[in-house]
Symmetry: C2
Amino acid sequence: MIQSVTLVGAGNLATRLGSALKQAGIEILQVYSRTEESAKTLAQILGTGYTANVDDITLSADLTIFALKDDILENLLSRLDLQGKLIAHTAGSLPMSVLAGHSEKHGVFYPLQTFSKQREVDFKEIPICIEGANAEIEDELSELAAKLSGKVERITSDQRQSLHLAAVFVCNFVNHFYYLGHEVVQKYGVDFELLKPLIQETAGKVMEIDPFEAQTGPAKRFDETIINKHLKFLSDQPELKEIYSFVSRSIFDAHKSE
Amino acid sequence: MIQSVTLVGAGNLATRLGSALKQAGIEILQVYSRTEESAKTLAQILGTGYTANVDDITLSADLTIFALKDDILENLLSRLDLQGKLIAHTAGSLPMSVLAGHSEKHGVFYPLQTFSKQREVDFKEIPICIEGANAEIEDELSELAAKLSGKVERITSDQRQSLHLAAVFVCNFVNHFYYLGHEVVQKYGVDFELLKPLIQETAGKVMEIDPFEAQTGPAKRFDETIINKHLKFLSDQPELKEIYSFVSRSIFDAHKSE
């Protein structure tokens, strides 16, 4: 059973994960970050020690979690002697195999959520996707995950990659369309606030209804009168006009065989 | 004070609006729809009469609300003698002026939300955007709106048009990206369910944080390693690949001067 963890990384994910682990009764032995200040800040939150020196990373924890940007991870791994240690990364976009050469005992611990400094998230609601080099490791990591979240899933590296990509669509791209909507109304002195109930309902709808079924609006039925009116309205904002046409076409293509 | 309404239209909006009006103590005198069955269904919900015959539309209500598709509205208006009657339409994309030739007493009553058969929405949370041919009409319509919702705004036709367009961005386009995310994971046998907490949090975030500030992910920082990995992952889904590139570029363009 995993009872202690060393946290390599001190970004948003490491911060939220560290707090959740501590709350679940896991001992955090140490926090590492390249930036001493980041390491110190998180270590203080977690009431533990820290280092910004790779050679001083404590490897005696039951599990060492690497919560780092992808390119930093691979470089750091090569500077540590991890043989025999249980290690896991938290990256959606990296296959488990990047750890294979560093320790036989390896796996992935991927919480699927967007983490920001400004907002607390309830870890119990966050799906944690687990992969392990063998069944025993998968069990150990799943058991740890179950202490943090009610939604633990075992998935393969390919499945995790598909989730990471889909997360870009449903989070980053979606947020960009919130931003573009904000741009559209701001020009006319309209408060973005008025769009918030619609944003909430649009998200709420797909909690219950398949997103294909949930679609409405002019693009789906290719209502040229409204589409042309919107394009005309955007005539002095060519980037918005282009993206409006492009996405409307994509919606129409998806629905035209209905 | 508006105490009675005739409802011209029996679609999703008319249904939700009619129920909210009735609950607020407004008498619904009649429901009209081109389709007798739709008219009858809604009339039964509202406990009132109905007609599918334009010549039988009751014009004795304090207010006649036209909740119809844009092209149907203009045709129907020309077949009614509305002079002296208070009339309003509910269309985001039509200026108030489409009513001007039909009655001097006209205005717009635009509830900004996505309505569907499958889901109840709490009308109290829906912004209702009001415009009136004069201050008195604006007051009357605002007073009625305040019986249904805590969020009543007076806006111009241009502002309403900008909201209607922004709604396409934050609702229809956003929903399309939910659908595309669904497509991405489905191919790998991953349950869309896993993405739901992320969808909720992404919407929840912009309730508090400006969407520009809320942006994260590979496109914002133009992380070529991850972007290229995602594009490679989509190599056998050219439409998804194209839309991924296009939207990533738009995000990068928006953030590059940061």
